[in-house]
Point group: C2
Chain length 338, copies 2
Amino acid sequence: MSRSTNTSLSSLGEFGLIDRIRARFPQPAPPELGIGDDAALLNPSPGMQLVVSTDLLAEGVHFERSFGPLRLLGRKALAVNLSDLAAMGAKPRWFFLSLAIPAGFPLEEIEALLDGLAEQAAEHGVLLAGGDTCGSKSGLVISVTVMGEQRPELVLRRSGARPGDDVWVSGTLGDSALGLQLLLAGYEKKGDVATEYVVSRHLDPTPRCELGQALADAGLVSAMIDISDGLLADLGHLCHQSGCGAEIELTQIPRSAPFDAVTAGASPTPWQLVVAGGEDYELCFTAPPAGRAAILETANSAGVPVTVIGKVSDSGQVVACLPDGSNFQPSASGYTHF
Amino acid sequence: MSRSTNTSLSSLGEFGLIDRIRARFPQPAPPELGIGDDAALLNPSPGMQLVVSTDLLAEGVHFERSFGPLRLLGRKALAVNLSDLAAMGAKPRWFFLSLAIPAGFPLEEIEALLDGLAEQAAEHGVLLAGGDTCGSKSGLVISVTVMGEQRPELVLRRSGARPGDDVWVSGTLGDSALGLQLLLAGYEKKGDVATEYVVSRHLDPTPRCELGQALADAGLVSAMIDISDGLLADLGHLCHQSGCGAEIELTQIPRSAPFDAVTAGASPTPWQLVVAGGEDYELCFTAPPAGRAAILETANSAGVPVTVIGKVSDSGQVVACLPDGSNFQPSASGYTHF
């Protein structure tokens, strides 16, 4: 990949930048059409439902440029959108990228951002089909719209949970929130493996696309959501849409060894980070208990551990039980934007 | 439509705002799914190609809040996207809306923005299917992605123009650029009909959706583009994609009576505004001369005047001829973002 370090964004211009973007990403091939006309032309697969999500990331709100390399920001901008498709069990196919770029923004930083986007796109087989680029009077703004597909009868919504279903989560929770806490406290990379791990879970989360599709294809799951606002908030959304509640055991929630290592001095366990920190981008789903073995096998094939953390109830409330039998109350469930 | 003038955005919160948005827009009905899950679920029509465009509008770059009511900004944010679908001859079906909103932004201004978006959406039968809302550390940012459909064999691209084809434009050109010039000079509404007309063409452009679809359906047009960067720039894009050139007569380009009234004192005619001002959101298209009568009839049915302004050539250049036989050179062809 060649870099023109002597070229600035202003000398390149909007169309020069678009040419660079087009050269960086494999494009939809005829009869489809990607970048280069008034709109993209895409051929949805016959009989599939189109699954579409969009997320906007603004500097100073969703990220600070000082937190990490722009390559990771590019990876994350696509990852958070792919995570939404994973939560519906959809296979990602195309994405659209809009960038508002402040004056004087270094071209090599834009190239690094595109590198990260291209990596994540290649890892999940999703094609850049169009977008928009413009100036910004303030910070960098990244808007991504991602489109995928799934058979209508297999799509997983938030609304299918039933009392008695197990509540599952993928991976481990709390790493990203702990990583953000370290970044906000002025973390600098210093070779500690556990610390670097949790920071990397914040800067470079893994969308669970393969797991989400495999669970949908297997037809074992009753409802699913991705954990972006924090487990309690997102499980709350799922229960609200399903007209039910849930009871979870905090000690059953999987934590990573690095999380426990970094928080070893903290007593009690920082449950706030685990259940209300957010940006885990893991999947939370519900399923009848009869499917447990098949779910474990499916998740194993997808290479992602999954864990039962509680039960769907008919209470209408999400209750998080502490080991002593009391209920945990988060100090705030999810990020507040306004 | 009820307005809670005592409610602020911060007391409403992100989910309260999403609820208001959902209440304002008719939603896709089952088996489709709009706002309320991780992603939207949409059913493309069998055999149709999906036509997708996205545009991001940033305060201080694309608009100033002081220029006009937020309702018109809402109309325009959707209009510029619909114009891209019109240029492909596609029927708009769904759109996605992302808003980054500065702290302290008045809720009634957001409501006005939504009013305008809802008006434009209703006028063109396009459904809001999802989006994202967040805070902004700086100005208001509006990102819209619009999706439509057309039969693959009828979609109009930029690449089909052939030497000998007529070059056509819809409506009149230059009004929007003149309106912007007045706004930048501190225009205040003062009852002059001509002035208000050209300002309204800048603040509230009309996407030529019906005309674009009718021309595509009629199969008479060889290539089409919408005029957002200015006629010379956009006709240049069309010619570049078609591997040809064009020769146009400036005096053949339709101007509005208000444009001529407002610029009456100017000599020579301000061609710069007409061919390089941009934001006309009219259609520029090419077609074999044999189809002239049918094109006029089609455009008449769609209620939009269309005019032949020149010929496609094999020169590879777009030449704009002045009445004295010389060629007009714009001082800049299109807005420069970086």
